[in-house]
Symmetry: C2
Subunit: 181 residues, 2 copies
DNA sequence: ACTAACATGTAACCCGTTACATGATTAT
DNA sequence: ATAATCATGTAACGGGTTACATGTTAGT
């Protein structure tokens, strides 16, 4: 049931189309919750049927028309209530760590390659995080309450990301010493 | 396809029954990959049919007999090959962070409560990690290669966990300042 | 003509979760 | 008796992924 509420969260400030939501789920909120456009369109239909969203067509010039969705009063209420529901603890699953349990001289350089890739991806992500932090969250104490929550999420992302980079370096050093040449 | 390989990874050193595997997936390998007994029994059947595992019955006194599963040569080979396959990047999904995007004076103390719970869970997990590290990984340089991989996974778990604790404290401080009284 | 970005959907499949089910043995 | 631990399964459901599908407009 979390996808529905993630979508509504994304609609808290502006109304948006399915296409725009799909794009948002690749950044911003998407740092902490991902969804494909196939999921999103399905969920938008369900949420509209349930009366939590309403939609209207927006005519555009120079591109196809779009349907934009916004929260109804019922949607706002449902979202606010959801925050108070008990959160199921998140499962940390990572295939790469399972692979590390199979470390051998043979596969060490392959695993180092994969960790190197992850490291590069994380560098890119941290760059995006930092850009957002500098632009929108440079004075956290002055933020409106809701944005302080976003700031906290962002802070966790940055800290965990930096920690991950440091771990990658340690792992790469150890793997280099283990690899067959 | 990761569950199958996680199970085989758990069988690398000893053969085990479904029940024992289910228990293991609550600790050790289970720190990085979880599975319920329902999943495990299904997967054991499939893996046996595929010829990657074989099973034999072990008669026990004082408790029900059990079926123990072990890797076949084909299973070993399949597992070794899997390590070289490209790992799909892991999605970080956390409902609690999405909830933080909905922070308000009303829900701040509830969210603080949930973060406090997470903090306590992580403390417990770190305690388990540390116990294992002290017992089995106090001299990482002397470990056999495969265990060095396990050590790396454990190290990541510990570092991320400690980082998470620090973040919880920061978050709790901010939430306290926001909460309505 | 072709590519890229905009825009929206359906269908099949796989995997994980929840619920349901059964039965042995030991300890209280 | 009854609870706890050991031990093994089936079935239904729901959510996420992959594949399939279509159509517009702008730019090269």
């Amino acid at each position: 049931m979390a996808l529905a509420h993630a979508i509504m969260t994304a609609l808290l400030e502006d109304e948006r189309s399915g296409y725009e939501l799909a794009r948002d789920f690749e950044t911003s909120l998407g740092f902490f919750w991902q969804a494909s456009h196939q999921q999103i369109y399905q969920e938008l239909r369900k949420l509209t049927e349930r009366g939590w969203l309403d939609k209207r067509e927006v005519r555009q010039r120079g591109r196809p028309n779009k349907m934009v969705y916004g929260l109804t009063a019922a949607g706002h209420a449902g979202l606010a209530q959801w925050v108070f529901a008990k959160t199921r603890t998140q499962a940390a699953k990572d295939e790469l760590l399972v692979k590390l349990y199979n470390l051998s001289a043979d596969n060490a350089s392959h695993l180092a390659g994969e960790i190197g890739e992850r490291r590069a991806q994380m560098m890119h992500l941290l760059y995006l995080y930092e850009k957002i932090r500098r632009r929108h969250y440079s004075a956290p104490a002055a933020l409106p309450t809701r944005h302080k929550g976003v700031y906290l999420a962002l802070t966790l992302g940055i800290r965990q990301g930096e920690q991950f980079l440091a771990w990658c370096d340690e792992a790469l050093a150890l793997l280099a010493s283990v690899a067959a040449r």
